[in-house]
Symmetry: C2
Subunit: 117 residues, 2 copies
DNA sequence: GCTATATTTAACCATATGGTTAAATATATG
DNA sequence: CATATATTTAACCATATGGTTAAATATAGC
């Protein structure tokens, strides 16, 4: 497994923290697209979109290929993997509902209730 | 499954985009802790930590329980679930290596190579 | 009640973020 | 070559972020 630094994780999570950027990635999941296509669904200027693309690019989630006067954009999903791995660790907490001391005490209470019956 | 809004996803991903905050969550995964304990590993003032706790709290990832003059902090992992779900969709891309047109062409080339043999 | 401890709030600061419009760049096309 | 198209860069702006120090608040303990 590829080792990702803290700062790379920062960049990926930051890239994902904006609805527009997540929308762009969702669009790219259906296939490569040029900048104007990506911009179309958003009520926003082209320069604003271009900046979002730069954020995604710096996080390693997107590549821009120059092709004549257009620029074709490509999704690079690999950097999402360490982000998924990071979150995965916490899955045990929300799945087992053993989130917290409070949950622990709740469970303990349940056990006591069972014993009382 | 709980439905999470775009803005909640924004907040969760933003909360995760900082090493200090991820460190705090990692610490809390080992059990509840008071603010001073959480602050200890970081070369940072208490007010700075308090702000990070507020960011985590607003993302729904942490709760502060008042207990006398101390405040016990608790990890709430549930809001990580929609974030994990969001990323999960992209797993197919990095796992199948069918990331992109480039990968597609690469695969096509491989097929052609096979045919040549 | 006074003092020490735990934590937050307020005020401030530098830099980052997310948007804008106008200008620059590069390429395609009549 | 002149013009239209695609995109980025530059300059600007308001607000957010992540940190600081000093003051405020709340509770514990002598």
């Amino acid at each position: 497994m590829v080792k990702y630094s803290d700062s790379e994780l920062n960049k990926v999570f930051h890239a994902l923290s904006d609805s527009t950027r997540r929308g762009i990635l969702a669009r790219l999941a259906q296939g490569d697209a040029v900048v104007t296509e990506l911009a179309e669904p958003f009520d926003m200027s082209l320069p604003a979109i271009s900046k979002h693309l730069t954020v995604l690019e710096k996080a390693g989630l997107l590549r821009r290929h120059k092709d004549g006067r257009i620029r074709r954009c490509q999704l690079i999903a690999e950097p999402l993997q360490p982000a998924a791995d990071w979150i995965k660790f916490y899955r045990q907490f929300w799945e087992t509902k053993l989130d917290s001391l409070a949950a622990y005490l709740e469970k303990k209470q349940q056990n006591e209730d069972v014993l009382k019956k």
